[in-house]
């Protein structure tokens, strides 16, 4: 019956499809056809099978699918256009989390896995795109597979064909890789593991199978796509196929495939939101949706235009004339008009030819844009005798950078926005701030406070007690300045609503419980939590050297005192730092009391920013909170919009058994600049990070105002990257 249906669909399809009428008209005949769609597995692909299609660099996606017995959510990120990284969270509905009802109740089994796909060749006129990838490469191995896949678009047909190993191989062919090495004859199983490890020995091992299919873009149907595929998944091997025979907590077998042909539809509701429905295995209906955004470029969301322009100084020509009589007038008008532009003058010097100002700001992510706006204000208030501007930037009372520019050159290129011309005339240097060197300084009354109240959410995802536990809170955030470089950061919150009652998993860690007591911390701070009350003192005694001394409640679980030092040469891509902290574990109610556990923790921090790829490599080596020693590796890429996608892992001197489930600490994160979504500029970032499992090994202190972040604008590359914003 099904094969007849499929045959008739294949017969009818050419009648409803259209030839390529022209590259651009296709966008209207097949709306959103340039955006590839997701498989049920949560990565870009056909229905169950992967494809060689990729999203642009800087894309972030989320996918959800339901296909008995699996419910699957996945997060997808593209640090490069040739690298797809994803994390899957699968609810396996034919098995219990454990056989201890008091522990997990009716909670079903949860599986977490990482996938990766690499584009080897881009599609060309005659050759397909070619990719290599793996599913569940660092998980329990429940879905572990590897594949090489090719995709080629011909008119409105996007064909895919590939070869698979592991769970996506129904073991039909001898593995062609055995001609290279006998290791590929069989598929090794990882021994002595607590999950979460790369099973490299198993990769591409065992018999292989071919798979393939097509995604067909249907004309004039609002972008609707039809998908059909030959599914090579071995459903006798994937998951817990035989119920209790496969796994002791499983209670039902998985439906076996009646056919290897799957078919379905994808409807792009918008370019980025796709709905999908398919019929899989000849007996299972699946559905889901995916949502994605390409956020790497400066105007990533083209429909939102910035309405945050430089506010010109009124009566500029008159002000210039008046200011030519007295330098104090220059200082005062600069102070006022900079403030109108959310730029804060800290000190100024005026001589015969040069106007020098020091300012701070927390509005612009682009330091060059803020400097450009300072220069505009100076040009609007400075009398004609001033021929040069020098603009110094400070943060936390420490000097960051200095920009010196001839006034004539700055001014003559504004109208045409000829920013490349002005770059050659500009000197950007490191800056060490010394207030005594300045004649004009605004009077600031200390202490001064900035605060806001905003909702906040604490989330606990994917534990054995339930999929999602959340806590909606009303947060209080404040910063009190006692001096420019002495501040108190406070974060507190009042609980509004939570579902933490069902949270009960106690720590089973044999290490000091530096992170695994998360459940009592969440539960006992439901009503009120003081998350941070950290006093910071910053100094930069010498150019490129930065120090921070801090004490108080440093994070949710620890309080103490310590310091951090950073050497960040202005023109270099390297930086090195060190930090040392004496900390004590906080009481679960997150107020002012402490528990018994005390430790000294510290690290040497190394940073390298690869200039071409914009990849930042950060190594943190030393003694961690649970008194294990090792190195934390963090790799991230920053995009021109400010989006940052990164991943990390930590290897310390504890064994896999001591670490527990997951074998070692690892995770990923992305920071999305909030200004992408608004018509106003903003320095804020929305952070999202995920660790598959919270364990104690490799855990480090999360104190506020890390020097690497505070001194971001103290590196030449971080200024010149945004040079095209100088007149923005």
């Amino acid at each position: 019956m099904l094969s007849r249906l499929i045959s008739s669909i294949i017969f009818v399809l050419p009648l409803v499809t259209a030839p390529n009428l022209g590259a651009t008209l296709d966008d209207y005949i097949f709306p959103n056809y340039r955006t590839p769609s997701y498989s049920n597995y949560g990565t870009i692909g056909l229905i169950q099978m992967p494809s060689a299609r990729m999203l642009p660099a800087g894309s972030i996606g989320f996918s959800y699918s339901e296909m008995d017995p699996y419910q699957r959510g996945s997060i997808l990120a593209y640090p490069f256009s040739w690298f797809e990284a994803s994390y899957q969270y699968t609810d396996v509905n034919n098995a219990l989390y454990s056989d201890v009802a008091s522990f997990s109740g009716n909670q079903t089994y949860k599986d977490k896995s990482f996938d990766a796909k690499f584009l080897l060749f881009q599609e060309s006129t005659y050759f397909p795109a070619l990719a290599i990838g793996g599913r569940d490469i660092a998980g329990t191995g429940m879905f572990s597979s590897e594949y090489i896949v090719a995709s080629k678009k011909i008119n409105n047909f996007d064909f895919t064909a590939g070869i698979g190993w592991g769970k996506i191989s129904s073991k039909t062919y001898k593995n062609p890789l055995t001609y290279i090495n006998d290791r590929f004859l069989t598929r090794q199983k990882l021994q002595n593991t607590r999950g979460g490890e790369f099973s490299i020995d198993a990769f591409f091992g065992g018999q292989a199978s071919l798979f393939g299919g097509a995604e067909i873009f249907l004309p004039n149907l609002k972008g609707l796509r039809f998908k059909i595929e030959y599914d090579s998944t071995d459903y006798d091997d994937e998951g817990f196929p035989d119920g209790r025979l496969s796994f002791k907590y499983a209670f039902a077998p998985v439906k076996r495939a009646k056919t290897k042909i799957n078919a379905g539809f994808v409807y792009p509701y918008t370019e980025n939101l796709h709905l999908k429905l398919s019929y899989v295995k000849g007996n299972t209906l699946s559905f889901g949706f995916s949502f994605q955004g390409s956020l790497g470029k400066k105007n990533a969301i083209g429909t939102i235009r910035k309405n945050d322009f430089h506010k010109p100084t009124p009566n500029s020509e008159l002000i210039k004339k008046i200011n030519s009589q007295n330098n104090t007038y220059i200082y005062l008008t600069a102070l006022k008009n900079l403030q109108n532009n959310r730029l804060y003058l800290q000190s100024a010097n005026i001589d015969e030819e040069m106007l020098e100002v020091t300012y701070s700001q927390s509005h612009h992510q682009s330091y060059i844009r803020s400097a450009g706006r300072v220069l505009r204000v100076l040009d609007e208030v400075a009398p004609d005798k001033i021929s040069k501007f020098k603009v110094n930037n400070i943060n936390a009372g420490m000097g960051m950078h200095s920009i010196e520019i001839p006034r004539k050159d700055f001014k003559s290129n504004i109208d045409e926005n000829l920013f490349p011309l002005i770059e050659r005339k500009t000197q950007i240097t490191s800056y060490q701030h010394d207030l005594d060197n300045f004649e004009f300084q605004p009077t600031t009354i200390y202490p001064t406070s900035f605060w806001k109240i905003a909702p906040s959410v604490r989330s606990q995802i994917g534990g054995p007690d339930g999929f999602y536990f959340g806590d909606l809170r009303l947060g209080f955030f404040s910063e009190t300045l006692f001096r420019k470089n002495l501040s108190l950061i406070t974060r507190a919150s009042k609980g509004l609503y939570n579902n933490f009652d069902e949270l009960k998993l106690a720590s089973d860690s044999i290490l000091p419980h530096v992170r695994t007591d998360i459940v009592p911390y969440l539960k006992e701070s439901r009503n009120f939590a003081l998350t941070r009350m950290q006093l910071n003192y910053f100094i930069n005694p010498k150019s490129d050297f930065y120090f921070k001394f801090a004490g108080g409640i440093l994070e949710e679980m620890f309080g103490g005192i310590g310091f951090e030092a950073l050497y960040r040469p202005f023109y270099s891509d390297f930086a090195i730092g060190a930090e040392l902290w004496r900390v004590q574990k906080r009481d679960f109610d997150q107020r002012f009391k402490f528990r018994k556990y005390k430790t000294t923790t510290g690290y040497i921090n190394l940073y390298y920013k690869e200039p071409r790829s914009k990849v930042i490599i950060a190594l943190k080596g030393g003694r961690f909170l649970a008194e294990d020693s090792g190195i934390n590796f963090d790799f991230s890429r920053r995009f021109e919009s400010g989006l940052r996608i990164g991943g990390f892992f930590t290897i310390t001197d504890i064994s896999k058994q001591e670490f527990g489930e997951g074998s070692f600490d690892k995770g990923f994160y992305f920071h999305i600049p909030i200004e992408l979504f608004f018509d106003q500029y903003s320095k804020g970032l929305a952070g999202f990070g995920l660790r598959p499992i919270t364990r104690d090994g490799g855990a480090y202190l999360i104190h506020s105002h890390h020097l690497w972040g505070v001194t971001e604008q103290a590196q030449n590359a971080n200024l010149t990257r945004d040079w095209n914003d100088i007149y923005n």
Partner: protein, 205 residues
């Protein structure tokens, strides 16, 4: 004019869930309100009319965009209207023939014989249209006819223009209301497949 699409709102909601405290709620609330209820319309009352020195149009684009565009020039029957934030529309006998700096722009390459008048019963037009973002050129066939009963105001004429696009499926009906002086006073037009309808009210000075 502001065009907010569902995508950005959805992404923002996900971000809000993950890190609310970094977001300025003074910015979020208007955005969510805009997405939920649409933009607040601009009321054109006598005070507003008296304040305007020049002819202007009020343009509503779907629920999420509204703007006042002032008449900047008239050349060969082409009226150019400009908004405060720089978007431009050009109209010819009440029909929008070009948009500039709207995210999805449209330029009519041929439009010269388009006209609305009392004696017109049914007339056929052929247009060549350049669409932007993505860029392509299409041809359109339009049938303009007058309907006997005015549907807007008490006086004047009402026209409907049934437009069929060649090359892909995009059919729509534009509507024009003409006053007794022969000027278009209101119009509903479709300009780009990715945009909702433009509703334009003309105010002549």
């Amino acid at each position: 004019m502001i065009f907010i699409i569902k995508n950005s709102i959805l992404f923002l909601m996900l971000i809000c869930l993950s890190s609310c405290n970094n977001i300025s709620y003074s910015q979020v609330i208007p955005l969510v309100k805009l997405a939920t209820f649409g933009v607040e319309d601009i009321e054109i009352d006598d005070d507003f009319l008296n304040q305007q020195k020049f002819s202007f149009i009020k343009v509503n684009v779907g629920r999420t965009g509204v703007a006042i565009l002032t008449l900047a020039s008239i050349k060969n029957g082409v009226y150019t209207w400009v908004s405060a934030s720089g978007e431009k529309l050009q109209t010819y006998n009440g029909k929008i023939i070009k948009s500039f700096d709207v995210v999805y722009d449209t330029h009519f390459i041929t439009f010269s014989n388009f006209s609305l008048n009392e004696s017109l019963q049914t007339k056929q037009f052929d247009y060549t249209v350049r669409l932007f973002n993505p860029a392509t050129i299409v041809t359109q066939e339009a049938i303009l006819k007058t309907l006997e009963t005015p549907r807007f105001g008490d006086e004047g004429l009402y026209f409907e223009e049934l437009v069929t696009t060649n090359g892909f499926k995009w059919r729509f009906v534009n509507k024009y209301w003409l006053n007794n002086d022969g000027y278009v006073t209101k119009s509903i037009q479709y300009l780009h497949p990715k945009l909702p309808k433009y509703e334009i009210n003309f105010y002549y000075k």
